[in-house]
Amino acid sequence: MTVERVEGPAGITLLRIGGEVDIVSAGPLTDAATAATVGARAVVLDLSTVTFFDSAGVRLVDRLARACDRNGAGFRVLAPTGGRARRVLDLVGMGEVLACEDLDAAVVALQ
C-alpha cells in the first residue's frame, strides 16, 4: 500500500491509494499522504480502488482534510457510489460533503 502522487488536470494534485486501508496500514498511509499535500493548490484523494476501508480510513481522510484546510488547499475524495470507501464515508456522514463520483466532478467541485 502506497500513496501515488499524480499531477492532475487544472493544477490539482491527485493522491491515489489502493489496497486495504485499515488500522494497520492507515498510519503510514496518513503520514505519506499528508506529506504529499505540501504545496498543493487542490487535492483529490482517489479511493476508487481500495479493497477494504474502515474507520482508520475515515481518520486518514479527516487528517488530510484538516491538513489541506491549514494549507488553504481544496480537498475532495474520489469515492464512487458502490465502492468500499463511499459506503463507510456515507455511514459517518462525510460522503455527502467530500465524496465525488469521478475526477471531472471533483475538478468541478474544486473550482
Binding site: 488500522i23 494497520v24 477494504f52 474502515d54 474507520s55 475515515v58 455511514l91 459517518v92
Partner: protein, 629 residues
C-alpha cells in the same frame, strides 16, 4: 405185487396214488402212507383222496379238481394241502385219468414254499435297505448343507420325521459347558433319556419305548436325538443301524458347525473391532454410518468405512469393498483400511492416494480388485475432493435440490492390471448443510436390475431426508432399500454432513494477520450462503471491533490476544443471524481516543442490527446481523 416190482413205486420221490373214478383210494405208495400216517387197510377202498386233504383242499377237490378231471382228463401241479401227522403239508398234485382209474402224483411243496417266502422276505429287505440308504443319504446331505449348530439341529429334526420314519423327535445338544439344550419337532420336547443309555456309547438304543441316538463328535458327545416310533400299521420299525450311522454323521456335522461358528465369530469380531473406532470430533461436520452383515449372518464380508483427519482441518471419509468373504476378506479389509490411513496426509489428495494404494494392493493379494470411494473435505471452506476406484459414485445431497451422483474422478478397482498411471480426482464445493452419501453396492445392486436403476433408487430414497437427523436418515434409508431382503451381500453406508461450524480465531493484539483473517472470514461467510453485500458489511464491522479491542483493550500489545468467534444461528429459519463475538482481556479505556473509537462504534452500529458490550470480565462485544431481508 412183488417186493422187487414194488420198489420203484414205493421208493419214488413223491407220493403216488391210484384212485377209482369216484376218487376212492385204490392204492398208494409208502411215501404217502408215511406222510399221512394212515394205515393202508383203513383207507384203501374205503375213503376218497379228498378225505386226506385239508378242509380247503377237500372243497377245492370237490368243486374244481374232480370236475376238471372229468372234463380235461388231467390236472397239473395244483397246490393243495395234505393232512399229515403233525399238521398240514403243502403239496402239488398232478393227476391223469387212465381208463377207469385216476393216477396221481403228490410232491411235497414245503421246501418250495419256504424258498418263496425267503425270496419275498429278501425282496422286502432289499427294498427296505434301499429306502434306508436313501434316507441316510438324504439326511447326510441335509446335515452337510446346514450352516451353524442351529442349522444342523434343525436339519436333523426335520430328517428324523421326514426321512428316518419317526413320529416325533427331540434333540438334546451339549452346549459349551457340556450341558444339554434342546429343541423338538412334532412333539413337546421329550424328557431327557436315561443316563444309562447315554453312557452306552455309540449305537442307537431303545429307551422306554423310544429310540435314543447318541451324536458322537470327535471330542465327545455332541448331543442326543430321541425318536418316538410311528404307531400306524404301515410303519416300518426304526432301524437302529441307520440311526447309528445318522448319529455319527450328525456328530461330525455338529463338530464342523461349531468350528465354522468359531471361525465366523472371529471374523465378525475382527470386523467389528476394525470398524469400531471413534470418528474425530469436530463441530464442523457430523457423520453417521450403518454396517449390515449379509443375510447369512455367519458370513462376514469385506465392506468397510472409515472417518479420520487426513490433516489439520481436512476430514477424510472412505467406504470400501474387499472382494471375497470370511476371515480372509475381513483381514484384507483391515489391512487396506490401515493402508488408507497411512497413505493419506497433507498434500496427498484422493487421486495420489489411490495410486499409492495400488502399490499396497500388489503386495496384499487378497486386497486385489477392491473398490474404494475416498473423499477429503476441507472443514474450513467446504471444498470436497474425491476419487472412486471402481466404486459406486458418491451421492451429493444439497438442501432443496435433487440428489446428484458425482460421476467425476473415476478409475479402475485397486490393483487392476489395466489402470491409469495417475488416478483422477474431482472437486466440488459444498455449502453448509450439504450431505454426502457413500455406500457399497450391496445397498442397491440386485441380480434383476441394472446398476443405474439401483443408483436411481438410492437417489430417490434420499428424497425428503434433509432436516432429518443424520443417524435417523442413514438408518431409514438403509432399511428402506434393503426391505426386499433380496441381497445376501453385506452393506456399508456412510452419510456425512458439513455444517461448517463456527469461525473461531485468535488474533495477536498487534493486529498481525488482521488482513488474512478478514479474507478467511469473508470466505467463511460466503460458504455459509451469506449474501456478498451482507458479508462485506460483517467483515467491516468485525474488523472494526477487532481493531477496537486490540487498540483500546490490549494497547496493540503483541503479547495480548483478541478472540473472535463468528457463528451462524438458526440457519434453517427466518430468524437466521450471524453472531460475532470479539473478546479481549482488557477494559476499553475512555480518554484521548474515545472520539475515534466512537467513530468505529458508529460504523459498527450502522452495519449490524444489534451491538452489546459486556465488560465484567475483560471486554466482550457481541454483534448480531440478521440474514433475512
Amino acid at each position: 405185487m412183488s417186493a422187487a416190482a414194488d420198489a420203484p413205486w414205493d421208493d419214488a420221490p413223491c407220493g403216488l396214488v391210484t384212485l377209482a373214478r369216484d376218487g376212492t383210494v385204490l392204492a398208494a405208495n409208502r411215501v404217502l402212507w408215511e406222510w399221512t400216517g394212515r394205515a393202508a387197510d383203513d383207507v384203501v377202498g374205503k375213503v376218497p383222496l379228498s378225505a386226506l386233504l385239508s378242509v380247503g383242499g377237500r372243497i377245492y377237490w370237490e368243486t374244481h379238481l374232480a370236475p376238471l378231471l372229468e372234463v380235461e382228463g388231467r390236472v397239473d401241479e395244483v397246490a393243495v394241502e395234505l393232512r399229515v401227522r403233525d399238521g398240514r403239508l403243502p403239496v402239488l398234485l398232478t393227476a391223469v385219468v387212465g381208463g377207469d382209474r385216476v393216477h396221481a402224483a403228490i410232491s411235497s411243496a414245503r421246501d418250495r414254499m419256504s424258498y418263496e417266502r425267503e425270496l419275498l422276505a429278501a425282496r422286502v429287505a432289499a427294498e427296505r435297505a434301499s429306502g434306508q440308504l436313501q434316507a441316510l443319504q438324504a439326511t447326510t446331505a441335509a446335515l452337510s448343507r446346514a450352516l451353524g449348530v442351529a442349522g444342523v439341529a434343525q436339519a436333523l429334526l426335520a430328517a428324523a420325521v421326514d426321512q428316518l420314519g419317526a413320529a416325533a423327535a427331540t434333540l438334546w445338544l451339549a452346549d459349551e459347558e457340556a450341558r444339554l439344550v434342546h429343541g423338538a419337532t412334532g412333539e413337546p420336547p421329550a424328557g431327557l433319556p436315561s443316563s444309562g443309555v447315554l453312557l452306552r456309547g455309540e449305537s442307537a438304543a431303545p429307551d422306554g419305548g423310544r429310540t435314543v441316538v447318541p451324536l458322537q463328535g470327535q471330542s465327545g458327545l455332541r448331543g442326543v436325538l430321541s425318536l418316538a416310533p410311528r404307531t400306524d400299521a404301515a410303519a416300518d420299525p426304526l432301524d437302529a443301524e441307520v440311526l447309528t450311522a445318522v448319529g455319527q454323521q450328525a456328530g461330525l456335522a455338529l463338530d464342523r458347525a461349531q468350528l465354522y461358528e468359531q471361525s465366523a465369530n472371529v471374523a465378525r469380531e475382527l470386523q467389528h473391532s476394525l470398524l469400531a473406532g471413534e470418528p474425530p470430533v469436530d463441530e464442523r461436520f457430523s457423520v453417521a454410518t450403518v454396517y449390515r452383515p449379509g443375510v447369512e449372518l455367519l458370513e462376514v464380508g469385506g465392506d468397510f468405512y472409515d472417518v479420520f483427519l487426513a490433516a489439520e482441518g481436512l476430514l477424510a471419509v472412505v467406504v470400501g469393498d474387499v472382494v471375497g468373504r470370511g476371515l480372509g476378506a475381513a483381514s484384507a479389509m483391515g489391512q487396506l483400511r490401515s493402508a488408507v490411513r497411512a497413505v493419506a496426509g497433507p498434500g496427498v489428495g484422493p487421486g495420489r492416494l489411490l495410486t499409492r494404494l495400488d502399490r499396497f494392493v500388489e503386495q496384499v493379494e487378497t486386497a486385489g480388485m477392491s473398490t474404494l470411494a475416498y473423499a477429503e473435505l476441507d472443514l474450513a471452506t467446504g471444498v470436497l475432493r474425491y476419487a472412486c476406484a471402481g466404486h459406486p459414485p458418491p451421492l451429493l445431497l444439497r438442501t432443496g435440490q435433487d440428489a446428484e451422483l458425482l460421476w467425476e474422478g473415476r478409475s479402475t478397482p485397486l490393483g487392476a492390471f489395466v489402470r491409469p498411471l495417475e488416478r483422477s480426482e474431482a472437486e466440488v464445493q459444498l455449502t453448509p448443510g450439504d450431505r454426502l452419501l457413500l455406500c457399497t453396492d450391496g445397498l442397491f445392486e440386485r441380480r434383476d436390475r441394472e446398476i443405474d436403476e439401483g443408483l436411481a433408487l438410492v437417489a430417490q430414497a434420499t428424497e425428503g431426508s434433509h432436516g432429518v437427523p443424520l443417524d435417523e436418515a442413514v438408518r431409514s434409508l438403509t432399511s428402506r432399500l434393503l426391505a426386499d431382503e433380496s441381497t445376501r451381500d453385506d452393506v456399508c453406508v456412510l452419510l456425512l454432513q458439513w455444517t461448517a461450524g463456527d469461525f473461531d480465531r485468535h488474533l495477536s493484539a498487534d493486529l498481525t494477520g488482521l488482513s488474512a483473517l478478514r479474507h478467511d472470514l469473508a470466505a467463511w461467510l460466503v460458504a455459509q450462503d451469506v449474501a456478498p453485500g451482507i458479508a462485506e458489511d460483517l467483515v467491516l464491522a468485525t474488523s472494526e471491533a477487532l481493531a477496537n479491542a486490540a487498540e483500546h483493550g490490549s494497547g496493540l500489545h503483541p503479547g495480548e490476544q483478541v478472540h473472535l468467534r463468528v457463528r451462524l444461528a438458526d440457519a434453517a429459519h427466518e430468524t437466521a443471524e450471524v453472531v460475532v463475538q470479539v473478546a479481549d482481556r482488557g477494559r476499553w479505556r475512555t480518554g484521548a481516543s474515545s472520539h475515534e473509537r466512537g467513530r468505529g462504534l458508529t460504523i459498527i452500529g450502522a452495519l449490524v442490527d444489534d451491538v452489546t458490550v459486556d465488560d465484567r470480565d475483560g471486554t466482550r462485544v457481541v454483534l448480531r446481523k440478521r440474514l433475512a431481508p
